[in-house]
Symmetry: C3
Subunit: 213 residues, 3 copies
């Protein structure tokens, strides 16, 4: 009943998505990856195509795409891939791990990816092509923009609002009712307690180190 | 078999609790909220009462109350509501998400609320009217006082002991064997490695920001 | 079919493991603990042996050991117990909570312990005798060395590589592709954004405190 899937990208992020999709017994018709796919048993037995144009071999109405391009702060390849194929008429599958916890009152736009252990609470809205990574927490009433990456273990308290292309790093925390404007990068472990202007990088105090005597 | 529920409060925290209770097919006889309830489909079709006194329309033995007042550091409305209606003879329901992980050897006192993805380990004890919020971790042997709020993504290591009215902020971490006295506020993301005196606020170094060139 | 288990250690960590094993209906033939076992209903009805040598009462082929010694930074008792009984020919059971999330493409070596709510992603490898504690996140492609402790709520991003005897503290965050050499202690809440040399302690800025007026 659900359509076959064509994965774009063959790195670590793609491997995590395919892991989820294999558990859900989804049919994967191939991976499109100009670079060699990462070494992983998860890719075993899947056809690899080398050019983005190979996507056109597949009919828009018979498959859905999965955006397997990994999220990188200040690199918009992932967003470009999404826009490009949407413009041509392809649809992107929303990938949701069976091991995530999503409120029945939350909404996910097209192409959203929710990884294992992630929590999305009541009335949250997740914008198109965004990733809620492993164990990340999106509290009640959050509005997450398009092309966001909420990294593993990050926590957004109630009613946080992020605009387009925001990256919230690993283990970062944002308190309630905060607005984060577009193209912001919140560093790993950073703690955000006031609104953030567009195109801002927020990074935390670095850990101090000493060698054990 | 389980009693009908009357919810006190109609904001974001109430919405999260009702979301859980609806999944558990609990009967909700109404929401008591002097202010307009938050905009959420979760409230749809539930009667709204406007005065605290409307609670008295319901017989103490036929319903249980749910404390839907959101936790706020340095504001004890939530605790007052609990004490007031307990004194009159009402009982508060303990609300536990089916998506939380609670040891069979842990104990929860009356009115405790455990939200999705929270973990409560072996031999932990959670005091009356406390909230263990989404994805928070309470390790083995922790003793959590009454009227506490352990915010989303906070982690309390083994045998941490908190007294009454402690607030542990979003993503905060407390190492093992720490005592936290009453009326303490641990800020979001703070890291606690020694005991904390009563009525203390602990806050972490703020994130540094710069605008991307 | 699965073998009976003999637990070494009777403190908080042992209680958490026995809690998991009881849920899995595993037969526990005893606890070996020179010190009094911790007060916990979880130990109820289990025989206690007082000397390490009591292990020899049990045939190597008929039981498996469980390393219940708690992890402590800069204390290698847990590693010594593992090596000592392995050298004699005993096997250690791998203990995995039913409430953890482990990719089918991840690998766990002998004696690994994965506690409730922990997440281990695609292609991760966990070295012998290591603990992935409650709610910790091990992202795709991580290689975790032997005798590691990844504490509750810690997050290791993709392709982090730790060597032997590394301790990652409660709520700590490590960004992707980081190498952490042997005998490193990452303090609770520390944020690691570059490689760490052997025998280093990394600790974060302490929280600032003030008493509420």
């Amino acid at each position: 009943m659900s359509k076959s899937l064509l994965i774009i990208g063959g790195g670590g992020h793609a491997s995590v998505l395919i892991d989820i999709l294999r558990q859900q017994k989804r049919e994967i018709v191939g991976i499109v990856s100009p670079q060699a796919v990462a070494e992983s048993n998860v890719f075993e037995g899947i056809n690899v195509f080398l050019k983005d144009e190979d996507v056109f071999e597949f009919d828009k109405s018979s498959i859905k795409l999965v955006n397997g391009i990994g999220p990188m702060p200040k690199n918009d390849l992932r967003a470009i891939i999404f826009s490009k194929f949407k413009a041509i008429g392809y649809e992107f599958e929303t990938v949701v791990s069976d091991n995530s916890i999503i409120s029945l009152y939350a909404n996910l736009e097209e192409g959203v990816q929710v990884l294992p252990g992630a929590i999305i609470q009541t009335d949250a809205l997740i914008g198109a092509n965004s990733i809620i990574n492993s164990g990340a927490i999106i509290e009640h009433g959050c509005i997450i923009g398009r092309n966001n990456h909420i990294a593993p273990g990050a926590t957004l308290s109630g009613q946080v609002h992020t605009r387009e292309s925001v990256h919230v790093g690993t283990g970062a925390s944002v308190i309630q009712n905060i607005n984060i404007e577009r193209d912001v990068v919140i560093g790993a472990g950073a703690i955000i307690t006031s609104d953030v202007e567009p195109r801002t990088i927020c990074y935390p105090a670095r850990a101090v180190r000493k060698v054990i005597k």
